[in-house]
Structure formats: C-alpha cells, structure tokens
Amino acid sequence: MARVKLTEYKAKKLLFTSLKIQYEGYSFDDASIPFAKRLSADKKYVVKVDQGVKGRMKKGLVVLQVEAKNIAGIYKKFHEKGYGRIIVEPQIIYNPEQERYLSIERIRTGFRILYSRHGGIHVEDKANTMQESILPIVTNRSKDKSLYDKELHTIAAALGIQEEIIRHLHDFFTDYYCSFLEVNPFVLIDGKLHILDLAIEVDSTARFFARNAWSNEDIASHTQSSEEEQVVQQLNDQSQAALSLTLLNPRGTIWLLLSGGGASLTIADEFYNLGHGKELGNYGEYSGNPNEEETYLYTKQLLNLAFKSNQKKIRILIGGGVANFTDVRTTFRGIAKAFEEQKTQMKKHQTRVFVRRGGPHEAEGLSIMKEWLSKNDMLGVVSGPEIPLNEIVKRVINQS
C-alpha cells in the first residue's frame, strides 16, 4: 500500500494536537451515539460522513445546524445510504467570503503548495485565484534554506496569515510522513485559525517512522466492504505476502486470481479495453510469495464471491507474468486445495478455469493445475509464458 486517507476526525486530532489547538469534535460509528450526552443542548453542530468521500456537501453527506438530540436520526439516515462513520463538530459561524484554501502535496522535488484566498466547496470554480509554490526538501544535510524561507513568506503574504502557521503545517506534514494535506476551508476569526475541513493522506509505508501515529482503524474507507474482502484484508495484515481483493461486480461472470503488480493490471485492462469490463467480478492480487495456506485461504474467499454471483457459468482466470520469487508450485497447490474443497459448487456453476503463469517450479505448478482441471472437467487453457498476457484474455472471452 502507499497513500491512504485518514478519517477527518483522526486527521484533525493529529493536526490540532500538533498546532496546540483544542479539538472539540467527536467520531461515532454506531447508532447508539454514546457520546450524545456530552454534547450541549444549546449548541448547534455540524454532522458529516467521515469516510473519505469527496464532495460531501454536494452529495448531501453534510448536515449543518444540528441540535444534539437530532444527531442519532441523522446517523440512521446516513446508515441507510451505506455509511457507518460520522464526525460531529460544533458549528462555527463565519462569513463565507473569509474561506481560504491551502493544500500540500509531496512531489518528486519537494512539496507543491496550492493556496487561494477564495476557498470553500466551490473551489474548483475559482481555479484562477489559485497560486502555486514549490517548497524544496530541507534535511539536516541541506546547506541553503533561503529558498524555503522565501517561498514560505510568499505564501503567507498571499493568504494574509502568519508565516508561522504555514511553517507549522509543513512541519506537521513532514513529521507525520503525509503525502497530501488539504485545508478547505480555513478561516481566521479575530486572528485565530479555524480549520473547518481537513483531508490528509499519509504514506502507509512510513507508519514506523511516524511513530505509529495512526493505525488501520484511522484509515477512511468509502463503503462497507464484503465479508470476503475483509477476510483477505486481515490475511494481508498478518502476512509477509501482499494479498488484496476488491469486489467490482457482485454479479460478475469472470473472476480473477492475479499476481504481480504490472501483469495483473495489464490483464484487467485487457478485459476493460475489449469491452468486457462489466463481466469482471473482482480485482485483486496475490503477490510476494504467499505460502500454500495463504493462497488456499485467498482462493476460498474468491470462490465464495464467485458463487454468490448466482451466475450459471463462471470463468476463473489464474493469471500473471513470470514470477521472480513467487513459487508457482506452492501457490498452485494452495489454489488446487481450495478448488478440491469446493468442486461440487464449482461444477454447479459450470466453472471453467484458464491459466497463464510462469516462475519458479512453473512446470510442476502448471501440471498440478492441468491434471486437476482435466480430471474435474473444468479445463479451459493451462499455459506458461509461451502465450502472451493478452492472448489468455482473448481465450477467456471467446469461451464466455
């Protein structure tokens, strides 16, 4: 994994603590709203879905001026739309014309800062007011920091705020290994900084260096994932290998067991480019040399999803490039074990399996699979790297 979005609640907690501002928001993820009692009856609140959704205001996932007693009802409505996590904050009254915009993105050569005196939900319409500065990378090895200071000054002057604020935001950004940070909007009321909406993407690979400042629970996820996807997520968290599974179409007819980042993408693209994207049930990868047991458990979850599609005919593609280190024999044994366990169901769904894969112990792996598929009358194509990646996709489509 790489760039992941924190929940707004976690993002604000981290940033506000770092800026020494007290944070008065709450996060809820169940209908009982246990914290509601602590909320004041005289105050008005903002209630927002906190699952990393873009354009929430336009999608009706933000409710303003809410009394504490009505929060539970709003939560229920959001829940019916498929959301489960909300953030509740005291409503702040300000003049919308004061809304300003600032974002920081980590780029190759440093940090791209975008900023404007005109922020808010319609920021895209005000693109012409947006300014850009690039902050250079400053480390303890760097000698010259003047460019950094100069850019900082420019940004602060343009926004009409203290340089210290920009410096703090940037320090926070680097301390927590952020990849992207967007404050839209922020306002100054009586000289005091109010961050109204905040989005932060952190670099998941840097959690150790960021002193474990966030955990998996702080990562915003858009929708409730299926049980099978959750099991694979857990499997991945506990494994050295990289296992991922995303449900694309619960009624899909083509199900993918892919490995290797680039080859997986190429195969999936090919289905999409040939106009068969809608038939894909899932996307996902098993990579990084998973063992037999892990591959078996992974395959089981994929089969579960495939059977739930209720499709009469199912196609499974075991596809990938020529692995450097993932053992084809070991992983194919795991897959064959799951197949063996589920063969009655597979036959019921008239399953046909296609294979294109290479790597260590390729010959043994392919022959294990070929033998099993022939015996159980599910053989589509079993091939090593002698046929191109796109060719196997054509074979699957032609037999669908």
């Binding site: 260096f209 980042g261 190429t266 693209d269």
Partner: protein, 600 residues
C-alpha cells in the same frame, strides 16, 4: 548522468551486495558465467550470520566473503566497487544507501530492491543521487541490464534457462523500461520471442518517486548510440510522464517511443483504487492512464492503453534480427549450469583424487616422504600448505613437548580410571580428552588471547596486568607450581628461541614483559610452557605466514591453539590407557577417608 556506453566498455566492474539475497546474487553470477566471464564480479556481501555465502559460478562453487558492516570492507574492494545490489529492508534503505555513497568512491550505480520505502526517503535518495552524481535505481526495482555486460538485480529473471531464453547475450537496439518488475521481464522475454534484442533495460520500480525516473532513463537512451527505439511500460499514478513530455517538447528526446500506460481498468471503480504498486493510484485526473496516454500521444509518442495494440506496435515498428539463430555459446554454458549440484560441505583440508589421498593440495605419500610431521600437521590445521620451515619445526617440537605431563593431571587420571573400569581404548581416551577445557589444557588458547589483545590494543604490559588484577583474574600462560624465576622451567628457553630468531617478535616480547611484572610480585609467576608456545606461535604466524591480527583472532575463536595440545596429549593418554590395561589392577574406588563429608 548514467552513461550506458561506459557500462559496456568498462572492462572490469566490481559489485557488492548489501543484504544477502541468494536468488538475486546467483542469477547475477549465472548471467556472467553465461556471458563467458572468467570470474564473478560480485566481490563481497554486507550481511551477518555467516563468513561466506556459497554460490555457483558455472558448475563450481565459489565463496563470496561476508562483512557485517560496510566499514569492514577491505580497502581494495571499497575502491573498486562500481555497483551495488541493495536488498536491505525498506527501513534500512535510506541509511544503507547514504553510507554506501559516502564510503565507496567509485560507485556508479546502486539498485534498491525493497518495496515499501517511504516517499520521504525516496525524495532524499533523489537528492543523494543528484548531489553525488551517483545513479540510484529504485526503490522496488529489479535492476538494470546491459546485454552481455551487466545484470544488476533480478532483472530478466532468476533462472538460468530464462536468461538464455530471453537472449541476453545478443546486442540489440531497443531500450526497455518499466515501472513494474514483472513486466520488465515479460517485455524482455516477448521481445526476444520475436527476435528483438536489447540495447539495455531498466526497471524503475513501482513507487511514486523512483530515484532513477523515466526521464533519467529516456535521456540515457537518447544519449546511447546503440539505442534506436524505446519501449516503455508505465502505469497510472504520479506525474513522471509529464516530465517526459516536457523534454520531448523541448527536443531533448527524439528517438521513437512505443509505450503502454496500464490502468484504464481503474475507470470501472467508483472511487480511485490502489493497485499493486505504491504509485498505481490516480487520485487526481491527470494521473489516470487515459490522461497520460493522451498527453503522450499529443507529443508524438506511440502510446496506447492496450497491451495488444502495444505488442502490435512493437512488432511492426522495430526491425527484428533473425529470430531462429540461437546463441550456441550461452546454450552450451547453460548445460553446465543445469548439471550442477550444491555440495553439503566446503573443505580445504583434503580430498580423494583417483583413489589416493591429497592433503592441502598435494598427494599424501609424497608429502610423507619429503615433509616433517610438524609441517604436515600445521598445514592441515591451517587448511593450507605452510611455507615456513621454522613453523614446521616448531610444531613438531611442541607436539613432542606436550606429549605428557605425568599421570597426576586430570585428563590422565580420568583415562586411567576409565581403563581400570574395563572400558575400551577409544572410551578411555575420550574420557581423558573430555577433561580438556578452561582449567586443564585450555591455557594455550587463553594465553594467545592475552598476548594478541595486549599487543594490538597498544596497552602497556603494566596496564594489562593491572586491569586483570583488578578483575581478580589469573593470567593464563603465567605461573608454575614448581618453577620460579630463580629456578626457571628448562623447557621455556628453547621454546622462546624459535621466536627470537625472527626479525620481529612482538607477541613473545609482550609475554616476557608481562612475566617481568608478575615475577616482581611473586617468584613463581613465570611465563610457563603454554604461555611461551602461544606467544611464539603468534609471532611465527605473523612473520612467517603473514597472518593479520584479524586472522589470528579468528584462529583463537576457533580454538586452533588448543588443537596442538589435544593432538600432542592424545599420545600421553593413549600410553596411560595401555599401561593400565597391562597392569590390570581392577576397578578403582576411593575410600571414605579420601572424601570429606560436610553439611552445607
């Protein structure tokens, strides 16, 4: 900037591995063997746990030395290292790369294999690379390949058969670049299948900020005279391709480019998905595969979002060499590799050659006729033929001197007790040998440690004695039950004479200086036989066989000095066994008077 032609023409290019990834290193050695190299370019491994890593070069095994830190690397290796394959974990990547660049003056290219290196560290790697004009490829890269010359990393495959099938020993005109490791191999292989050969290939790695960016790669290809075409597999996510476009517009890159940007399938997802590689997520519009492809097409790149179209473009645009011709040299070398078998042990002592025994490289019978017993023993103990005559003579002298020290010592007593209990020869001898340890017979090794440490750490003998005294420790090699400074052990003088004929003898000098201090305290604290033998052996090994202090320390660590005692004294124990069996006094038993009972 990376100059490919330099890589092709540099005759010798030494490499080291930081982190020990056997699969990758073996594939590099296989490549070089298949290319007809006479020795591997991999000179050292920075890792822990073992002293050597055993790899194949062709069908023979070679031992690549392991050092636990970069700072321990011998000077000539540090100086000659041009290439690094770094397989350390993500957390160690930045620090280890920084150290390597600081320490290795002639470093040209480092390949970083680890995935999950933080973006912030990648930014610093880019700075390091630019400031030091040293190419860093990766993170998450499987490496760089120049046909017939260089394979740094897993690139093009890790199995010898795959390397031959990918025709890496034919020079070509097509540069292959990819953000995906697997697709790098896939492209190389599929080009080979249609008879297209490489000028060079680089795997950039699937991270957001590859230290060696696509732009760096394309500029190197532009500069490279051998390269006529560029084939590129890119992915959605990041802005690297826009940097390329800027330079194509400026006319910095003019060679024809065929490219496929993967990731159109992302359009099917409701929210931007994260694919396998860290950078493969298009959070913003211009990062999508479609947007990038469109922008590349606009500047004349043969860009497509479909792999099928991509392969068709490659086949029609690039003139192929005849594909049927096989490289017979690499094919025949492959047969050598495929017939090999890993050994279970490595040894330098002896072997069987056509039914007769060979000891340290020459036939035993001949040696028995021309060398002394001492020479043969010492050569075998050191695992190589010694050249020093004095060392051989001294060994023989020592073997005689330690042969026995009377029946009273622990080892002899145990041998005799076992013999009288009716045990056989081997059991009785073993019972004696098993007694040898820290208090009995182990003094040689301990004394050697004292003289070595004292000498090489520049401690004065006074300080050394004082520090041991403070810790309440005895000094092994010093002290005798009977002999005193005014009544010296007659054996010591002839022992020391073997060292004093040498031009330098710092170890025995140190031992004697220690003796001078200890005898002032107490008359019987003289240099004893063990201490004298240890000192003389250290001097002989240093002066006559060029052993470094590090080599000597290793001998101490593996109990080499005690070995002489064990060998010599076995004669004594055996004699006592035979003697007891001849006398046959029956089972030995202590009487109650000989053991005092006391309550705790």
């Amino acid at each position: 900037m990376l100059d490919i032609q330099t890589l092709r023409t540099t005759r010798k290019h030494d490499a080291i591995a930081i982190g020990s990834h056997k699969g990758i290193m073996q594939s590099m050695l296989d490549f070089e063997f298949l290319a007809g190299y006479t020795e591997p370019s991999l000179k050292a491994i920075i890792s822990t746990g073992t002293k050597y890593v055993k790899l194949f070069f062709g069908k023979d095994e070679v031992l690549i030395p392991v050092f636990n830190q970069l700072s321990k690397l011998p000077g000539d290796i540090s100086k000659n290292t041009n290439f690094i394959i770094n397989t350390r974990s993500a957390r160690r990547v930045l620090a280890s790369t920084q150290e390597a660049i600081d320490r290795l003056p002639n470093l040209l290219v480092s390949v970083i294999f680890a995935e999950n290196v933080p973006e912030a560290h990648a930014q610093q790697l880019i700075n390091l690379s630019q400031e030091n004009n040293s190419t860093i490829i990766g993170p998450a890269s499987i490496g760089i390949l120049v046909p017939q010359r260089l394979k740094l990393g897993a690139i093009a495959g890790v199995q010898a058969r795959q390397l031959v099938a990918s025709q890496l020993f034919e020079k070509g005109e097509t540069a292959v670049f990819s953000s995906s490791g697997g697709m790098t191999n896939e492209l190389i292989r599929s080009l080979a299948n249609v008879g297209i050969h490489l000028s060079f290939a680089v795997s950039f790695g699937g991270d957001r900020f590859p230290a060696f960016s696509p732009l760096d790669g394309f500029l190197a290809a532009e500069k490279d005279k051998e390269t006529k075409h560029i084939v590129y597999f890119g992915e959605l996510g990041g802005y690297d391709e826009y940097e390329l476009i800027e330079h194509i517009k400026k006319g910095d890159i003019t060679k024809p480019i065929i490219c496929y940007i993967g990731g159109t399938v992302a359009e099917m997802f409701a929210t931007p998905p994260q694919f396998g590689h860290a950078k493969a997520m298009a959070a913003r519009g211009e990062e999508t595969a479609l947007a990038k492809t469109k922008a590349l097409k606009a500047v004349g790149v043969h860009a497509t979002t479909s792999f099928s179209t991509f392969t068709q473009l490659v086949e029609t645009m690039i003139t192929r060499k005849s594909s049927s011709k096989k490289n017979t040299e690499s094919e025949s070398r492959l047969k050598v590799i495929e017939g090999r078998k890993a050994s279970l042990f490595v040894n330098s002592v002896s072997r069987d050659v056509g039914g007769s025994v060979e000891i340290v490289g020459s036939e035993l019978l001949k040696q028995a006729q021309s060398y002394s017993y001492g020479n043969i023993v010492m050569s075998m103990l050191l695992g190589k033929r010694i050249t020093s005559k004095p060392l051989g003579n001294f060994t023989e002298f020592v073997l005689k001197l330690v042969v026995d020290h009377g029946p009273y010592v622990s080892g002899a007593v145990n041998t005799m007790v076992a013999a009288r209990a009716g045990k056989d020869l081997v059991s009785s001898l073993s019972s004696g040998l098993l007694t040898i340890g820290p208090r009995f017979g182990g003094a040689l090794n301990q004394a050697a440690q004292h003289w070595l440490t004292g000498t090489i750490t520049d401690t004065t003998p006074d300080e050394y004695v004082e520090s041991l005294a403070r810790q309440g420790k005895r000094i092994a090699g010093i002290g005798h039950r009977k002999y005193r400074s005014d009544n010296p052990d007659p054996r010591v003088k002839p022992i020391i004479a073997y060292a004093t004929i040498l031009s330098h003898h710092r170890f025995i000098d140190f031992a004697l200086a220690v003796e001078k201090i200890t005898t002032e305290k107490k008359g019987n604290l003289i240099l004893n036989v063990d201490g004298a033998i240890a000192g003389v052996l250290l001097d002989l090994l240093e002066q006559e066989e060029q052993y470094s202090p590090k080599d000597l320390q290793e001998l101490i660590d593996i109990e080499f000095f005690n070995a002489l005692f064990v060998l010599g004294r076995s004669v004594g124990f055996t004699a006592h066994y035979l003697d007891q069996r001849r006398k046959d006094e029956g089972l030995f038993r202590l009487s109650p008077q000989e053991i005092t009972f006391t309550k705790l």
